[in-house]
C-alpha cells in the first residue's frame, strides 16, 4: 500500500514538473512570452549539458558544490553542538533561544559586506555567511527536538540499566531525528539560497556567478541553464538528506 502511494506521489510530482516545463516550452515557441526573457527548457537543458560537457562550467559547479558542502558541514557541526548545549543547560536555552529565533527572522544576508571585509571577496566569505544562516535553524530544531523527546522513553531506558551513552544513541537520537532533520532541511535550504544569492551579488564563486555574468551578457538560455542546474543541485541535496535521515533512524 505504502509503496503504491509512494509511486503515485512520484508520478504526480513528475507530471506537475513536466507540465510546467511543457507549458513554458510551448509559451516560448509560440512567442506568447518574449524569447528575450524566457528560454525554452529544452534549449536551457541543452545549454547546461553542453557547458558541462565542454568543461566550461565544471569548475564553477565544483566551487558551488564545495561551498554548499563545506557550509553545510560547518552549520551541522556548530548547529548540533549549539542545539545540544541549549538543551543540556536549561539556563542557556532560556537565555539565548529567543535571540537565535530573532536572528533567524532577520535578513542576515545584508551583513554580507562585513563578511567580505573579514574574509575577503572569496568563497570563504560566502561559506561563512551561509554557515551562519544554516546553523540557526539546525540549533533551534535540535534543542526543540531533544526537549520534546518523550520522558517515558528515557525512563524505560534507565529502568533497563542503559548507560547514558546508550540512552543518547538508542533513544534520544532516533526520537529526536525527525525534528533535527527538519532543521537540517531548513538549514540546507537557507545555505543554498545564501550561497547562490551571494555568488550572484558579489560575482564570486560558481553557478551564481555564472548566472550573473550570463544576465549581464543577456544570454537567456544560459541563465535558465544555470537555474536548472541550481534546481537539480537542490533536489539532489535534499534527496541525499532524506536518505541520510532514513539511515540514521534505522
Amino acid at each position: 500500500m505504502w509503496a503504491r502511494e509512494k509511486t503515485q506521489s512520484i508520478l504526480n510530482r513528475s507530471l506537475m514538473v513536466l507540465s510546467c516545463l511543457l507549458l513554458l516550452e510551448l509559451a516560448v515557441s509560440a512567442q506568447w512570452v518574449s524569447p528575450l526573457f524566457f528560454a525554452k527548457p529544452s534549449a536551457a537543458l541543452r545549454t547546461l549539458w553542453s557547458q558541462l560537457a565542454n568543461g566550461k562550467i565544471a569548475g564553477m559547479v565544483f566551487i558551488t558544490l564545495y561551498e554548499i558542502g563545506f557550509a553545510f558541514l560547518l552549520a551541522t557541526l556548530l548547529g548540533l553542538l549549539l542545539g545540544y548545549l541549549l538543551w543540556r543547560y536549561r539556563i542557556l536555552g532560556l537565555s539565548y533561544e529567543l535571540l537565535l529565533s530573532s536572528l533567524f527572522a532577520s535578513p542576515l544576508i545584508l551583513l554580507y559586506p562585513l563578511f567580505l571585509v573579514a574574509f575577503g571577496r572569496t568563497s570563504a566569505a560566502i561559506i561563512a555567511l551561509a554557515a551562519l544562516f544554516g546553523l540557526i535553524p539546525i540549533a533551534i530544531n535540535t534543542r526543540s527536538a531533544l526537549d520534546h523527546v518523550n520522558p517515558v522513553l528515557i525512563q524505560v531506558g534507565s529502568s533497563m540499566n542503559l548507560l547514558p551513552r546508550q540512552i543518547f544513541r538508542h533513544i534520544l537520537i532516533p526520537a529526536a531525528a525527525p525534528a533535527v532533520f527538519s532543521g537540517f532541511r531548513l538549514g540546507l535550504t537557507y545555505i543554498l539560497k545564501t550561497i547562490l544569492g551571494m555568488e550572484f551579488i558579489v560575482n564570486v564563486g560558481g553557478i551564481g556567478k555564472w548566472i550573473s555574468e550570463a544576465a549581464f551578457r543577456f544570454e537567456t538560455e544560459e541563465i535558465y541553464a544555470g537555474l536548472f542546474g541550481v534546481l537539480i543541485l537542490s533536489v539532489a541535496f535534499l534527496h541525499l538528506l532524506d536518505r541520510m535521515e532514513r539511515w540514521i533512524r534505522r
Partner: protein, 327 residues
C-alpha cells in the same frame, strides 16, 4: 491683403507646428539612470529637473535608478524604461545581437578620464609602472574599469614590465574595503568619491584612466532607447535629448550652481570646493553626444569577452546606432 496673407502664413505655420507640439507636450518618458551620484550619469538629470528644462520642453520625466548597465539594458528591452543613460556598450551589443529592440541614440562618455586608481597613503606604489606585477582592481567583468585594467596590462607588457593581476572587487565602496583589507594594491574610483580622502592625504592617485592611450578616443558609455518607443515617440525623444544637451551646457557654464544642485540632490556630505574638483576629471568634449568613437575597438573587445558571438554587419551597426534624435 497683406493682413490676409499674414493670417494664412500664421495658420500654415501653426498647422505644421501642431504635430510637433502635440508629440512632446505632456509626453511621458521613463529614464533609467545607473547611478545616483556620478557626475556624468546623474547630474544632467538633476540639473534638468531643478532648472525646469524638462517642464519647459513639455516632458514629464520619470527617473528610475537601476543597478548598473546590465539591469538598465534589461529594463529598456522590456520597455519599462524608455531611455537608458550612461551604459557600457558591451551589454547593449550583446542584447542587440540577440534581437532586442534597442538603439543607441548618443555617446555619453568618450575616454576614461574620470576614472582613477588610488593606493593607500603608506603604499610604496606611486605610478602605473610601479604597479607592475601587483593587483589592480576593477568592478565587474566587461565593465569600463575591466577594459581599463586590461589596457594597463597590455601597456605595461609593451614596456617589458611584469603584467599586473586584474582583481574584480565590485563597486566603489566594496573596492575600498578590498584595498583596506589587502585584497589588491590599487583600487578604482570616480569623482566625487574619495576626493576628500585624497585631499586629507589618506589616499593617493596612482594613475588615471586617460593614461591608457588605447581608450582615449573610444566611446565607453552611451545613451540608448527602446526602438518601439523611438518609433512611436520621435518628438519626445528629440525633446529629451535637446534638454539633456541643455543640461550639459549648463553644467559646464554654471559650475558653482551645478555643484550646489548636485550636492543637494545626491546628498553629498563633502565640502563644496572638494566636490568642485570633479571638474578636473571631466572635459565637456568627453561628454559630447556625438560622434560615437572607436566602435571597432569596442566591437573587437566585445567579441573577445563573449558579448558578441559574431561580428555585427555594417547594416546591423547602422540599425543599432541612430544619432538623428540629437539636437
Amino acid at each position: 491683403m497683406k493682413r490676409g496673407f499674414l493670417l494664412v502664413a500664421l495658420s500654415v505655420w501653426l498647422l505644421s507646428a501642431l504635430p510637433a507640439l502635440a508629440s512632446t507636450h505632456g509626453a511621458k518618458i521613463t529614464i533609467g539612470v545607473p547611478h545616483r551620484v556620478l557626475f556624468d550619469t546623474a547630474v544632467p538629470i538633476y540639473v534638468a529637473e531643478e532648472k525646469g528644462f524638462f517642464k519647459a520642453a513639455g516632458l514629464e520625466v520619470n527617473t528610475v535608478f537601476v543597478k548598473g548597465g546590465g539591469e538598465n539594458v534589461q529594463a529598456v528591452v522590456a520597455g519599462d524604461v524608455h531611455v537608458g543613460l550612461a551604459t557600457g556598450l558591451f551589454a547593449i551589443l550583446s542584447a542587440f545581437s540577440k534581437g532586442a529592440p534597442i538603439q543607441v541614440v548618443s555617446a555619453e562618455m568618450t575616454g576614461l578620464q574620470e576614472i582613477y586608481w588610488y593606493v593607500l597613503a603608506d603604499s610604496p606604489y606611486r605610478t602605473m609602472d610601479s604597479l607592475a606585477g601587483k593587483r589592480i582592481a576593477y568592478s565587474n567583468l566587461g565593465s569600463s574599469t575591466h577594459m581599463a585594467v586590461l589596457g594597463v596590462i597590455e601597456l605595461l607588457q609593451s614596456k617589458k614590465l611584469k603584467a599586473p593581476e586584474a582583481v574584480a572587487l565590485g563597486s566603489v565602496p566594496d573596492t575600498f574595503t578590498g584595498i583596506k583589507t589587502g585584497q589588491a594594491e590599487a583600487g578604482w574610483s570616480a569623482p566625487p568619491f574619495f576626493l576628500d580622502r585624497i585631499e586629507k592625504g589618506e589616499l593617493r592617485i596612482a594613475f588615471r584612466g586617460d593614461e591608457i592611450p588605447k581608450f582615449r578616443e573610444v566611446t565607453i558609455r552611451v545613451n540608448f532607447a527602446n526602438a518601439d518607443f523611438l518609433k512611436k515617440n520621435p518628438g519626445a525623444a528629440r525633446a529629451f535629448f535637446k534638454t539633456y544637451q541643455q543640461s550639459l551646457d549648463f553644467m559646464f557654464k554654471n559650475q558653482e550652481e551645478t555643484v550646489k544642485i548636485w550636492m543637494k540632490r545626491a546628498d553629498l556630505k563633502m565640502a563644496e570646493p572638494t566636490v568642485k574638483k570633479t571638474y578636473d576629471f571631466y572635459s565637456k568634449g568627453a561628454l559630447n553626444l556625438r560622434p560615437i568613437k572607436g566602435i571597432q575597438v569596442t566591437l573587437e573587445d566585445a567579441a573577445k569577452f563573449g558579448f558578441l558571438k559574431k561580428a555585427l554587419t555594417q547594416e546591423e551597426l547602422d540599425r543599432l546606432i541612430d544619432l538623428t534624435y540629437l539636437p
